[in-house]
């Protein structure tokens, strides 16, 4: 449990750093590290498939996409951020953490556990039989993404 808590603290820390860093490349790398930590947390929760997806797809593929975009928009990190936000962000976030901790402490044991039947079978049974339509939706979403990217990067006609 101590390891899991340390990983959760690291996850929040790197996620906040990903937002707070000025340099976009550092932000992307901090986001990748936080994905890696989330993947390890998933492994700790007996969810190896979700962990593998998180590490390979989110920490790997999405980071590559981010770095590619940063490289294609080189002068983009010249955007001037508000100075006020840089001061207010940590203060409001710390205040929220305190409120969050108090609320969670207040709720401890008060919210009854939802009734849930015990699961049977393997992950494959649940994914392929129980959630079949999720897979159809996933295929549709991937196709939608592919067509959207193709549409956004299509060559301009001479008439345009």
């Amino acid at each position: 449990m101590i390891l899991q808590t340390a990983l959760l603290i690291g996850l929040v820390l790197f996620s906040v750093l990903a937002i707070a860093f000025r340099d976009l490349l550092k932000s992307a790398i901090a986001l990748a590290v936080s994905s890696l930590l989330l993947g390890i947390i998933f492994f700790g929760m007996d969810a190896p498939y979700a962990g593998v997806f998180e590490i390979s797809v989110v920490a790997g593929l999405i980071t590559v996409l981010f770095i590619l975009t940063i490289a294609l928009t080189k002068s983009g990190d010249e955007v001037r951020e508000s100075r006020l936000v840089n001061w207010v962000f940590p203060l409001v976030f710390v205040a929220f953490l305190v409120i969050d901790a108090l609320v969670m402490r207040g709720l401890l044991g008060k919210v009854p556990a939802l009734a849930s039947g015990a699961e049977s079978g393997t992950f494959g049974d649940v994914l392929w039989r129980g959630r079949t339509f999720d897979l159809v939706g996933q295929i549709a979403v991937i196709l939608a993404g592919v067509f959207a990217v193709l549409a956004l990067f299509r060559k301009r006609d001479k008439h345009d």
Binding site: L8, I9, L11, V12, S15, A18, I19, L24, S27, L31, S34, S35, L38, I41, F42, M45, D46, A47, A50, F53, E54, V58, I62, L65, F66, L68, T69, L72, T73, S75, G76, D77, V79, R80, E81, V85, F89, F93, F96, L97, D100, A101, L108, G109, A113, L114, S116, E119, G121, T122, V126, G130, R131, G137, Q138, I142, G145, A148, V149, L152
Partner: protein, 102 residues
């Protein structure tokens, strides 16, 4: 088990709030999208921790994997949009998009 669930809820809420603060305060388009990613991390942590606490980890895993697939598609489309915005406005500043108002 329930106490562990509250611990995960605490961190998931922290991630979502950090992402919301980033969305409200930042001006760089890529930064804004990183903030959306952070919110997404909070949501997937919430989904899986609830499944873990309720002994429904297999269904929660299936949901998280579905979410990750949607996230990849979303990221690819959004980053393509950002590149196109950059080509048009020569800047990643969100305020530059106000010029597109009709």
């Amino acid at each position: 088990m329930t106490n562990t669930w509250y611990l995960y809820l605490f961190f998931a809420a922290a991630l979502v709030f950090a992402g919301l603060l980033g969305l409200l305060g930042k001006r760089n388009l890529i930064k804004l999208f990183i903030a959306i990613e952070v919110i997404g991390k909070g949501i997937s942590l919430l989904l899986l921790s609830t499944g873990f606490a309720k002994a429904n980890i297999l269904t929660a895993q299936a949901l998280v994997i579905t979410y990750i697939v949607i996230e990849v598609s979303l990221v690819a489309t959004a980053l393509a949009l950002i590149i196109n915005v950059y080509r048009t406005t020569k800047s990643l500043d969100i305020r530059g998009l106000t010029k597109l108002k009709g």
